[in-house]
């Protein structure tokens, strides 16, 4: 089948992720949306690897997964500390820092 469809799918995933970042209030969900964007990129990489017939894209996908995982660790740490001080993970509540 046409790998182009996968690209379309990945772009859809990316946009959903971006919109999730823009629209959701829950930090965890925002964060998941970012991960969704990363995985959209992953899908694109793999598909392009298929189209170009070289493995680079697939190898890259591995690395991206790892980086994403590391991001999860850091992100959860930060979000949890915030949660514990503010009793909520709404990313709109902390806005003391502003002009």
């Amino acid at each position: 089948m046409d790998p182009g469809n996968y690209i379309i799918l990945s772009s859809i995933l990316f946009c959903i992720g971006a919109l999730g970042v823009l629209l959701r209030r829950n930090a965890i969900v925002v964060f998941m949306s970012v991960e969704l964007m990363l995985n959209a990129a992953n899908l694109a990489f793999v598909t392009f690897a298929r189209m170009h017939g070289n493995l680079e894209g697939q190898a890259i996908a591995f690395f991206v997964m790892i980086v994403a995982a590391a991001e999860v660790v850091v992100g959860l740490a930060i979000i949890m500390t915030i949660f514990r001080t503010r009793r909520s993970v709404s990313i709109d509540e902390p806005h003391l820092l502003r002009n």
């Binding site: 690209i7 379309i8 772009s11 859809i12 959903i16 965890i28 995982a69 514990r84 709404s90």
Partner: protein
Amino acid sequence: MNVYIPLLTLAGLGMLFALFSVSVTSLTGPKRYNRAKVDAYECGIEPTPQAVGGGRFPVKYYLTAMMFIIFDLEIVFLYPWAVASDQLGLFGLAAIMLFLFNLTVPFVYEWRRGGLEWD
């Protein structure tokens, strides 16, 4: 200009679908905005705020995540190495050993810092 047509269609499709799905959920879905929605885990497991030790961090959850990651990555990278190990030879072995060592470091750190004790 035509060079943009695939890209723009791509972006357009993505946007449309994303907007559609998001708006549909917000239109059709029931609106019960309560604390649970902004809780750390909507799955219901409430991280106890005043845990033993007066607000000490209940690290369990994401320590587990961390351990999962450690071993997950180990496997993810061991497979390709294993496949090509005979060609990679000593260099590959050294490399993968270095990699494994680096993975062990956080594990050791976690263990020494008592991350593995489920009280």
